[in-house]
């Protein structure tokens, strides 16, 4: 007989979400539903009627971990709708800003997953905040990498959490020669640290992968070799930055996309029939509690070619670099591999930046209501914003954010794993739940959303 266990709220990621798991007698997940329970702030709806200048600033505040991706995707969607080409140096600044955010985000994610992992050769699970070595050195390195990322972002974009100097039509300011040098020095320092950090994390992840079992809240749990495997396919729009409907050859196709309500995908009302008080910390949901993912989920289910897909670092590596490792460990290792990559690319962009170049377009149209979209590769995956701007007012705004894609994909990846490791699989997606809490057009007749948009 299957039993139902619920882990709520899930921890060590952004936002509020929960896992509802139907498990067999051995505790192996038969069906897993991972869903957002973050209140829906309704950013896509409140955007309507506002100016295209303000909406990207609000979009940024949808998520404080990948705000840059939201801000840039929204800004560039506006530019795509009004058909505004921005100067090359503004593009360079945006690239630098975006890569800086990726650097900080990868480092932050290291802090979040380390408690699931072991110091190689020991049974000691890693507390990233302990003052003891070797962990303290690693924690300091992580924080320095984050500092480098945030400082570079601050220089290129005015501020690093929510960027201030991006604007429709380009950037408010270019950087001075002095600022360029500073970014350069920081990136070079970061490269050395990132290499060391990447090697460390990969070693720790490989060590985890080689284990027969792991301990969760005192319970010994067998570690399957296929932890986190799924067959949902991948979506990425660029190895680094993104794409937009202004591009000559866009890498995302709105016609291949549609979104449905969770009603079709999640389980209906059930009762919790398995409770585990040992599950850290505070135990799982009490026996007899009614759960209803269908009703409670705060996101929709986006699909590309009719199926949920995975987005994120592995999707980028698979799409652009023939990376081929499946599972949770493969996903985390892909993220680590983006460390150095993002710094090499950052250095190239800083090199290409001309501090004397102009950074605002000469002419910024008011918009005629055309559909425009832009994607930005957030640290945790493809972030697509779609908009229509007419007479300098936003008529329609929609955000298709990374973790929304990953909710359904990750739910599929839970199948076959011991339920105690569901959170480990989920964390592999580096979820950002606040931003995922959005849904595009309701799709009752299973009609293509894109058709509705284009009509």
């Amino acid at each position: 007989m299957s039993k139902v266990v619920e882990i709520s709220p899930t921890t060590r990621h952004e936002g509020h979400s929960k896992l509802v798991l139907k498990v067999n007698d051995q505790g192996i997940i038969e069906t897993g539903n991972w869903c957002s329970i973050t209140p829906v702030r309704g950013v896509e709806k409140l955007a309507v009627g506002k100016t295209p200048e303000q909406v990207p600033k609000i979009a940024s505040r949808v998520c404080g971990i990948c705000p840059i991706a939201h801000n840039l995707a929204a800004t560039e969607a506006m530019e795509a709708s009004i058909k505004c080409e921005i100067p090359k140096d503004a593009k360079m600044l945006r690239h630098i800003l975006q890569l800086a955010n990726r650097l900080h985000s990868i480092a932050l994610h290291d802090i979040l997953i380390l408690p699931d992992l072991y110091i190689p050769g020991t049974e000691v699970m890693i507390n990233p905040f302990t003052a003891e070595e070797p962990v303290r050195t690693v924690a300091k390195r992580i924080q320095r990498l984050r500092e480098i990322g945030q400082t570079v972002g601050q220089i290129a974009g005015g501020d690093c959490i929510h960027p201030r100097n991006t604007r429709v039509g380009g950037m408010y300011r270019n950087c001075s020669e002095q600022a360029k040098t500073k970014m350069y020095d920081l990136a070079k320092e970061g490269l050395v640290l990132a290499k060391a950090q990447m090697d460390f994390m990969i070693a720790v992840l490989r060590n985890y992968q080689a284990r027969e079992s792991v301990t969760v809240g005192g319970m010994k749990v067998a570690l399957p070799k296929t932890l986190g495997y799924h067959n949902q396919g991948y979506l990425a729009t660029d190895a680094f930055y993104g794409s937009s409907s202004l591009d000559e050859c866009p890498t995302w196709d709105i016609d291949r996309f549609k979104e449905v309500r969770p009603w079709d995908w999640y389980m209906g009302e059930m009762e919790v029939s398995l409770e585990e008080p040992r599950y850290p910390v505070g135990g799982t949901t009490k026996l007899g509690t009614k759960v209803n993912p269908q009703m409670e989920a705060c996101t929709g289910i986006p699909m590309y070619d009719g199926q949920p897909v995975e987005v994120g670092p592995r999707a980028r590596l698979v799409t652009y670099k023939n990376y081929d490792e499946k599972g949770t460990v493969g996903q985390n290792i892909a993220r680590e591999m983006e460390y150095t990559d993002s710094l090499y690319e950052m250095i190239d962009c800083i090199d290409a930046l001309n501090p004397d170049g102009k950074v605002v377009a000469d002419y910024i149209p008011d918009g005629d209501g055309s559909l425009g979209w832009a994607s930005n590769e957030a640290p945790r995956g493809t972030d697509v914003h779609i908009t229509r701007v007419k007479d300098w007012k936003v008529q329609y705004f929609s955000m298709l954010v990374p973790t929304t894609w990953n909710f359904a994909t990750c739910s599929a990846a839970l199948t076959g794993a011991p339920w105690q490791l569901a959170e480990v699989i989920m964390r592999g997606y580096d979820p950002c739940v606040s931003c995922a809490t959005h849904m595009i057009v309701v799709d009752e007749d299973n009609k293509l959303v894109a058709q509705k948009l284009i009509q």
Binding site: T38, P39, R41, K57, G64, R146, C160, H438
Partner: protein, 253 residues
């Protein structure tokens, strides 16, 4: 030094930018955790899943009053904390959630968002979007001194925190409009430029020496109003800026 203070972190309808700001104390965060602060509850960073009894709670985000869970969590936070700090523009003033008006799938009824001060009593404000790592650090160190310090340290901490407590008492509205109504309209603005530099969306410029706010850009975070030296200013604290800065830096050495 005495033992650490316990800290909780309740995350409501915010974006986690405030959490990132806390983490952006970089090595200083590790020092804070080593010496002054025992992190009891913060689901974003650690595994404890339910609100705990603590000395100080940071609350990030505004509260959706149409979401039972959020309201319960907020009330529970108040009941279980000696000091509640509203962290960031959303918790203090609503910030972008002031614009929310519901109607979005999959929970179209999530319509009404309030700054936490409209639902519970809040002791200390840290406004700004995002709030700054240094401001969070200063409040954390001062909260420690207030609860665990010597008599002199308690006095210093009280003086330092007083304006932020008064900000919490003042109310749950602050944006560029308050800069107009409470400073410029009151004949207090002298054109220093603080507001423009504080604005996180470049909505403020200065025309002929006085602030010009682009109200269609303003996100209602309250940074400009609270950074203004003519919104509130404590001579007792600011005249000792050197000693206080040194004390904070020394605490983190």
């Amino acid at each position: 030094m005495a033992d650490k203070i316990t800290l909780g972190y309740t995350h409501l309808s915010g974006c986690t930018g405030c959490t990132v700001a806390l983490a952006d104390n970089y090595a200083g965060l590790l020092t804070l955790l080593d010496r002054y602060v025992d992190l009891k509850y913060m689901p974003t960073l650690a595994d404890v899943r339910h609100v705990q009894k603590v000395d100080v709670s940071f609350v990030e985000g505004s509260c959706c009053i149409n979401d039972k869970l959020a309201v319960e969590e907020l009330k529970e936070t108040r009941e279980k904390s000696t000091v509640v700090v509203a962290l960031g523009g959303c918790a203090c003033y609503g910030n972008i959630t002031r614009f929310s008006r519901g109607g979005q799938q999959n929970q179209p009824q999530h319509e009404a968002y309030l700054p936490i001060g409209d639902i519970i009593k809040v002791d200390v404000y840290i406004p700004g979007c995002a709030p700054t790592p240094q401001m969070i650090r200063n409040v954390a160190v001062m909260a420690y001194l207030l609860l665990k310090g010597t008599k002199e340290q308690k006095e210093l901490a009280t003086a330092f925190l007083k304006p932020l407590m008064m900000a919490a008492q003042r109310g749950t509205t602050a944006c560029f409009c308050e800069l107009m109504t409470e400073v410029i309209n009151q004949g207090l603005c002298m054109g220093c430029g603080s507001c423009a530099s504080a604005c996180p969306v470049n909505a403020i410029t200065h025309e002929y020496g006085k602030p010009q706010g682009e109200r269609d850009l303003c996100i209602k975070c309250g940074a400009c109003y609270n950074q203004c030296p003519r919104s509130w200013f404590s001579f007792d604290v600011v005249e000792n800026y050197e000693a206080i800065n040194e004390a904070i830096m020394a605490a983190l050495q």
